[in-house]
Symmetry: C2
Subunit: 352 residues, 2 copies
C-alpha cells in the first residue's frame, strides 16, 4: 500500500519549499495549496508532481518570483493581464477572484492572462467561484508547446488545451475539467516513461499513422496527440481546440504568432453570476435536476453507474482529508531531493 500524508502537512511542506525558492508567503501558500488540492481530487499528474519542475524554473529564473502582473487592459466587465511568468496558480486564483467580483457587478466577468507561468490543474480553481454562487469557465493553452495536430494534419500545433467549468447546484457543484484532445501531455508522458500502452489509438506517429504508443510524441520528428473525437469525429475536438487557443491567446493578445519559448500559459477565466440572469435559485434547480438525472441514468453494460463530473474527485478529497493523501509513486522522492537542496524537512508518512 502506498504511503499516505496529511494534507495540511503536505501544504506546509510545499509552501516552505516555494518560500525557500524565493516566492513571498502569499504566492508560496496559494501555489502549494492548489497543487495539494489537485492531489486531494486525484488529479495526480497535476498535483505535487509539478512542484519539482516549478522549483527548478524558479532556480533558473524562468518563473518570476516577485511582483504583480502588469495591467494590459481594464474595462468594465473584463481585464487583460501580462503575467510576467509569475506563478500561474497564484495568478489564476487572483483572476478567478477578479472575474467573480466583476460578474457580481456586470453579470459576467472575464480576465485573460498572457505570459502566466504554468497554471496546474484547472479543476482545483472551480470551487473558489461556485462557493460564491457563480458559474466559472476556465481555459488555458501554452503557446510555447505543441503536441496536438489539427484534424487531418500530422504536425503538432496545439497544446491539449484544457477547459474547466464549475457549476453550482445547491449541493455538491458539478466540476468539469476536460481537454480538447483525446488525452493530455501529462498522461502521455507518464505512459511513455513507464513503457505502457493503452487499448486505444490516441496518437499519430510523425507520418500521421494512428498508434497506441504515446512515446511517439517524444520522438524527433514528433508524432502528435489526436484531437478529441479521434480519427472519426476529431473535427469536433479540433474546433474546440481553436476556440480555446483563441480565448486564451487571441483575446490576451499574445500567443503562437510570437513564437514564445518559455514554459507558460495563456489563460482565460470567466465567471457568470446567475443572480443577474434567471436567478440563483432557478439556476441551481436546473443544474441540480440535471446532475440527479445523470446519477440515476441506467448504466450501460460494464459500467457500474453514471457519474457526475466532480463526484469522484470530491469523494476522493473527503477521503484524503480524513485518511491522508496517497501520492503517486515517485512524487515524494522527487520532492525530497528538492527539500535536501533547499534545506526543508519533508513530512512524515502517516504511521510512517
Amino acid at each position: 500500500m502506498a504511503e499516505r500524508y496529511e494534507a495540511t502537512g503536505l501544504t506546509a511542506f510545499a509552501t516552505r519549499l516555494f518560500e525557500k525558492a524565493g516566492l513571498d508567503s502569499e504566492k508560496a501558500a496559494l501555489t502549494a495549496e492548489l497543487l495539494v488540492e489537485a492531489d486531494l481530487m486525484g488529479h495526480t499528474t497535476h498535483g505535487l508532481q509539478l512542484a519539482p519542475g516549478y522549483l527548478k524554473k524558479l532556480a533558473a529564473g524562468e518563473m518570476t518570483a516577485e511582483g504583480e502582473p502588469e495591467i494590459v487592459a481594464d474595462m468594465a466587465a473584463v481585464a487583460t493581464w501580462d503575467g510576467r511568468y509569475l506563478p500561474g496558480l497564484w495568478l489564476t486564483s487572483r483572476a478567478v477572484d477578479e472575474a467573480v467580483r466583476r460578474a457580481k457587478s456586470f453579470g459576467v466577468g472575464a480576465v485573460t492572462i498572457r505570459r502566466s507561468h504554468h497554471i496546474g490543474c484547472l479543476a482545483a480553481f472551480l470551487t473558489r467561484a461556485t462557493d460564491q454562487g457563480c458559474m466559472l469557465m476556465l481555459a488555458s493553452s501554452d503557446p510555447s508547446v505543441a503536441s496536438v495536430a489539427p484534424f487531418g494534419g500530422r504536425q503538432p500545433l496545439f497544446t491539449p488545451n484544457p477547459v474547466a467549468c464549475g457549476i453550482p447546484t445547491g449541493g455538491d457543484p458539478i466540476l468539469i475539467d476536460i481537454s480538447a484532445s483525446v488525452t493530455t501531455n501529462g498522461l502521455s508522458g507518464r505512459l511513455a516513461g513507464e513503457g505502457r500502452r493503452l487499448p486505444f489509438q490516441w496518437w499519430l506517429d510523425a507520418d500521421g499513422n494512428p498508434t497506441d504508443d504515446s512515446a511517439v510524441i517524444e520522438r524527433d520528428p514528433p508524432g502528435s496527440i489526436l484531437p478529441m473525437g479521434g480519427l472519426d469525429h476529431g473535427h469536433k475536438g479540433y474546433g474546440l481546440a481553436l476556440m480555446i487557443e483563441t480565448l486564451t491567446q487571441a483575446l490576451s493578445g499574445f500567443g503562437r504568432a510570437d513564437a514564445p519559448t518559455t514554459w507558460g500559459a495563456s489563460v482565460f477565466v470567466q465567471a457568470f453570476d446567475p443572480a443577474a440572469f434567471g436567478g440563483l435559485e432557478a439556476f441551481e434547480r436546473q443544474a441540480g435536476w440535471l446532475a440527479d438525472a445523470c446519477r440515476s441514468n441506467p448504466p450501460r453494460p460494464g459500467m457500474e453507474k453514471v457519474r457526475v463530473p466532480g463526484d469522484a474527485a470530491l469523494a476522493r478529497k473527503r477521503r484524503a482529508l480524513a485518511e491522508g493523501v496517497e501520492l503517486y509513486p515517485g512524487i515524494i522522492g522527487a520532492l525530497a531531493a528538492e527539500a535536501g537542496r533547499l534545506g526543508v524537512t519533508p513530512p512524515q508518512a502517516i504511521g510512517g
Copy 2:
C-alpha cells in the same frame, strides 16, 4: 445533376411562405434569410429543410407568430429573455446584435433565451458578430427533446447540444459549429430515413450496446447518440454537454426540470469585443496566424489538406451565390406542398 436555385429567389419565396403563415415581415425575412444562409454554407439538414416543420408549427399555434420576447432580467453586460416560442432564428439574431452591443460597452455581453422556438443552424449567425470585429459564442439545447445519453449511461437525456464560435482573423473568419455528441439528430434521422449506416458505432441501442444503426434512436424504448469522444473518451463530450445544458437552461432559468413538451430551444449567446482585451489588431494577428498554421499543416495519409472550420462553408457560399443553391433532394418538393397550401408560387430552378 440536382436542380439549382437563385439564393435571392429562395429567400423571397421562404419569406412569402412565412408571411402567409402569419409572421410579420421582419420575422419572416430574417427566418428565411438565415435558413437560406445555412443552405448556402452547405448545412443542408438545417436550411430550408426545416421550413415545412416551422410552417406546420405556426399553423398549429406551437410557434408564436407575433410580439416581442419578455425581458426576464437585464443588468449591465447581460440579459435574459423569455422567447414565448417566437421564431428562434429571429430571436437569436436579435440576441446576437444585443450581445455585440453590450460587448462594445462592457467588453463582453451575454444574452440567454428561454422558450425560444428552434434556432436552426448556429453557424449562420456568426458573421453577424465577426463582421463587427467581435468574437461570438453561441450554444443551444432543447429541453423538450432527449437523444444523447450521459457517458456510461444508456437512457437519452441531452440534445446533441451545438456550440458555435465565430472568430475574426482580418481575412475570412473562423466559423466553428460542433455538437457535444458524435453526431446530430438531423443526420441520424436522415440516415435512418434512407436506411443507411455509417462505418462508425456512433449510437447505443436501448440496452446500451454500440451500433452503427441510427434507427435505434427512433425505436421504443429508444437508443441514444454517444457523447463526443464515443466509447473510449466520451466523458469529455459528456462534460461539454453538461456545460452547454447549463449555459442554456440553468442561466436562463428554464429547462428539463420543468419538463417542457413544446419543440423549442434554450439559447446562450455571448460576444467578446477584442478591443477591450488585448486589442483587435493583436487578436486578428494571433487568430490569423493560427488559421494559416492549420492550413499549412502537412496532411496525414488519405487527407487532401487540413481545413480551417468555415473555409469549406464560405467557399460553398461563394459558389452558391454565383451558380445557384443546390438543395438536398426532397426539400423543394416538401416546400412546394406548403406553397400550394398557402398560395405562394415556388421559384423556378435555374435553367429549369
